[in-house]
Subunit: 352 residues, 2 copies
Amino acid sequence: MKMEVINRYITIKNHVDGASQDSDFELRSSPLVLSLEPGSDEVIVKNLYVSIYPGQLIRMKSYSSSQECSKSAAAITPGEDIDAYGVGKVVVSGNPKFGKGDIVAGLLKWGEFTVVKPGGMLNKLDPMGFPLSYHVGMLGSVSGLSGLTAYAGFFEVCKPKKGEKVFVSAALGSVGNLVGQFAKVLGCYVVGCAGSKEKVALLKEKLGFDDAFNYREEPDLESTLQRYFPDGIDIYFDNVGGHMQKAAVSNMNINGRIAVCGVISEYTDRQKRAAPSMMDVIYKRIKIQGFLAGDYLNLFGDFLSTTCDYLRTGEIQPLEDISDGVESIPSALINLFGGQNTGKKIIKVAEE
Amino acid sequence: MKMEVINRYITIKNHVDGASQDSDFELRSSPLVLSLEPGSDEVIVKNLYVSIYPGQLIRMKSYSSSQECSKSAAAITPGEDIDAYGVGKVVVSGNPKFGKGDIVAGLLKWGEFTVVKPGGMLNKLDPMGFPLSYHVGMLGSVSGLSGLTAYAGFFEVCKPKKGEKVFVSAALGSVGNLVGQFAKVLGCYVVGCAGSKEKVALLKEKLGFDDAFNYREEPDLESTLQRYFPDGIDIYFDNVGGHMQKAAVSNMNINGRIAVCGVISEYTDRQKRAAPSMMDVIYKRIKIQGFLAGDYLNLFGDFLSTTCDYLRTGEIQPLEDISDGVESIPSALINLFGGQNTGKKIIKVAEE
């Protein structure tokens, strides 16, 4: 007897070239037989947690040159299911590497089940005593994910030294909160910005940032940064681009470094660009460096052991923002660009 | 008997905050006694060649944050004489290191004579068989000078590999022409841009660039660069900033590098800024790096022997643009920003 379920999943109705809205998405259902043809080496996974990240919106555009530069940025086709990093449990396996009940992590779908084809990215997961959701966010092991992005971007791209002054934008985002916490552990002076009073309090009280401000209340970002960094900025971890980047360049010290990690301002509205002073860039010998975590997979072991240690000692606080059910996926992505998440945005698709 | 001469020198009447014009400058004269008080350790130098470089205009602004970042960018005060790198001949010396008739190089003045105080930057010069003017421009040994800027910026900041595709803006400028020639010697594909048909011909015919274009005839720089670099740009040596930088970012390859050397567009008009796509910067892992040659003085020995060899074998062509007399200094500086020089701009103040 073949067991059949209804698999609910999210798709887009059309390419999304600006900000996304509810009407761009569709929740579809299709029957799925929970067994495999003889000889099949597919794996059917029941999805438990899936990730929401800004890069997915870029993949929904009708065209972006970035789609050619990185496999993780390949275009998403309307009507098709959408892949996303996640953690799940094997329901049935034609692949001898996996058995029923195994907890796995890899490239799953924005849906309730994933049929992983041979060659698909899937690995058994050792939770190491941490909640499964941590492995979707801060401890996740593939490109585009927050933990390695924060670690590689901060330590490798910025090459920080103890005592340096670090500014983090979108500091409660999935990457920013970890960058700020890594910087504090190293002994840097860290200021973050976020979009509400509550978030500012969280940065200072829960995450131990030296200071924080609400950028929505600051009409003149250059003088704001001057106030928070009277001795200048050595490192700017840039998650937003635009006017904040420009203001940071004005306030940077000699040999300042900017790791460009995200451009929330550019994803949804190309008009919000702002050009930093290249004269400052020259005279202050500033480095502006784009990067992708996928180029630093060789550091994954270091990153994982370091971060797990800090989580166990409490030097780093996990920061997750979890919604329930596949139907919450569209609003979770939309709200990401409104800065409505606090920490890594994750969808809990099902109970273990 | 004390010999007295009339020393003619250039000064500014006022700070210059935009483009400079003739009326900003003044040719002054004052008597100078060509002998020293007993016990004085000054050196009086008859200036032979002095340098004209864009950084001098920045120093004339009433304020620029760059003036705080680099000694070579310190503000110039109206009415005072203006220092500039140059080569001269010692007339009288109170310093045992120098004797009458010595050829010296160092920080002189935009004038006919320089009284070098103790501690002033002055060294005996071995011309090594080259014309003295070469030692003001491409072979000069202090910060802000073209040869070391080209060498350090290209080899150290861009880390080029044979076969890479290199784009140079202001390619007939003092730095750009050398960068292009270094890149050709290394075996790169090199395209330059300049501001006239004659300059384009010079780049291709005299300097051996693979191709070149006149940016004034190109209304859409993004598609221009796409045409000249169908396989993308690996290295952009940026002497101008603004829209050209933006177009270069759009056409860069993965792991592309931009050495930001000059911002002609920004020196005289802050409105010409243009913001490159930070999404491209991220997905293509582009590095945008400002630099000053003064940080690479440790490379001066390498640079000098390499460049002298190439000059002797003819693999590198010298490119100088020499005007005569201190009275030609103001127009030389003004025209630098109109792109009217071909190669290093030098003033021949006097015959040897």
